[in-house]
Structures are given as structure tokens and as C-alpha cells.
Amino acid sequence: MSEGSVGWAGARSQMASPVVDAVEFRFTCVLHLEHGEWKIVQWHSSIPSTNEEYGFFLTKSVDDIVEAVSESRPDLSASSAEDGTVTIAFTDIEDSMRLNAFLGDRRWLEVLRAHNDVVRNVTTNHGGTVVKGQGDGFMLAFPSARRALTCSQAIERSISETFKDPGSPVRVRIGLHVGETTREADDFFGHAVNYAARIASSAAGGEIVVSSLVYGLLAQTGEFEFEPAREVELKGVEGLQMVYPLAVAG
């Protein structure tokens, strides 16, 4: 619309970024005719959803990753040990919905980018594979439990260094589990992936927690120190499960 040298417009549209697939937004603007050219003199854009919905969109990533991986069943042969086992790690920023609300969308996206860079780079440097990353969550795969746990420690260290402000609320929780992909693909994608994600969800921020299978593989080496086992309920898994927190994450 316009009247004389003043005009205005508004619409809903979509934007995409490397972090968020697509976000709908709306805008209104006022334009002014300056030396024969329309110039923006006021612009207001917002996301047409509640903050809770937007936070949920950015933070429901682990469930989405489990669902996507279970459906697509990516080839993990490059991450398999000789016996066909793959160690899976899920990483997730603790309380990210609240963090998003606290930091605001712009700062939150900056945090996500820095966090994502850390997870991707450290994983690659430790010979792991980023199976899928979405929002603030990642699924990683390794050919050995030892390598997965060493990498998890390095991720925690690097996150601490990247967000080294003592008041920084960015804390990453990590869960590890091991499964067999070659002969037990149904069980792996139907159960093991979900189990690893639930173990990650049981961890506190800054904590690395492993399943009893991973614990059995690593405890005897004496290379890692674990806290006493915890009994936890895992969503979608019957009965109490034993999980083992690493004594010092980093």
C-alpha cells in the first residue's frame, strides 16, 4: 500500500539456514520515497509461533534424530568394528529450551553454531562419524567403545573451553551404547539407537553416561574411572536400567 511518498507492506515468508531447516516468519515494513527510490525506514520481523513452540522446534532434535535414523537406516559399515559392532554416542545441550529463551534467538543460534562446530570437528579428529546432527543434538558412530568415550571426553573439554565464561550455562550431556549392525540391523535401528538416545537423556549437563554393555567393554581396561552405577528409568524401555557415569568428564 502507498500514499504519496510513504508506503508499507507485510507478509509471511520462510527462511532457511544451516542450523534450522526452515523457519516461517512474518514482517511488516514502512518505506519512504527518497530521491525517486523506495527505501526501508522501518522493518519489524518476528516468528509467528509462541516462544515455547519455537524452543521446542529447536530442541526436540534427539527424538527427531532417532526417528530419522531408524527410518533411513544409514550405512554404518565405515564405523563398524571387525565383529560388526558400532558404538553410538548421542550428544545434547542440557535444558536447551530454557537456554534459548534466556539467550534470545540470535545469541542462541550463535551458541548452536559454535557447539555444532566443536562436536563435528572433535568427532572427525577422533575417527568418528557424524551420523546426523539436528538442532542441538548429534548422533555419532565409532568403531570402538574406547574411541567413542575418548572422543566424548574431548567434546566435553572443548565445550568447556569454547564456553569458558564461568557463568556460561552451556552444558552438553552425552550417552553411549553399543550395538551390532550387520546381523542385527532390526534390533540396532529399532532398539540400540533409541537406547543410546535415552541414556544421553538420563545424563546431567557436562556428564558422560554409558550403558552396561559399554561399561563391560571398558571398565576392565582400567583406562577410565566410573562413578557407581545408577538405576534409571528410560523412556520406552521396560524396567530399571543400570547406567554408568564417567567419574570426570574431561
Binding site: 502507498s2 508506503g7 508499507w8 527518497e34 534470545g104 534467538d105
Partner: protein
């Protein structure tokens, strides 16, 4: 007050410039006159300076992979 096809095209071209990474077109569309205002969805996202807002649009355009 009347509907303006010209303004519809101006705004459409602005979004196309953001999509295509046309930094000059983005910068040129923003007024530097006093009274400029840009608001984002976050409470801290308020700019009263056209030059700063234009720089931010270009930065965001690059981060979003414009061009």
C-alpha cells in the same frame, strides 16, 4: 491510500537480493535517514541506525547462505 504493485515488487526484489547474496541491492534498499528503525523477534533486536541495520542484513544474508 491505494494498493501498490510497485511496492510489492520493491519488497519482492529485496527478498530476492537477500536470497541471491546481492549485497549492494540489500544495502541500497535501506534508508540512512534519521528515524530509521528495525525490530527483530528478540527483545534485544532493535536498531535505530540504517547503516548498522544494512550491515546486519548483509551479515545475516551470508550466514544463511545467500547467493
Amino acid at each position: 491510500m491505494e494498493s501498490s504493485e510497485e511496492l510489492r515488487q520493491v519488497v519482492t526484489r529485496f527478498f530476492e537480493a537477500l536470497r541471491d547474496g546481492d549485497e549492494e541491492a540489500v544495502r541500497n534498499r535501506v534508508s540512512r535517514q534519521p528515524g530509521f528503525e528495525r525490530f527483530g523477534s528478540d527483545p534485544e533486536e532493535v536498531w535505530h541506525d540504517g547503516e548498522a541495520a544494512a550491515r546486519l542484513w548483509v551479515q545475516q544474508m551470508k550466514e544463511l547462505g545467500g547467493g
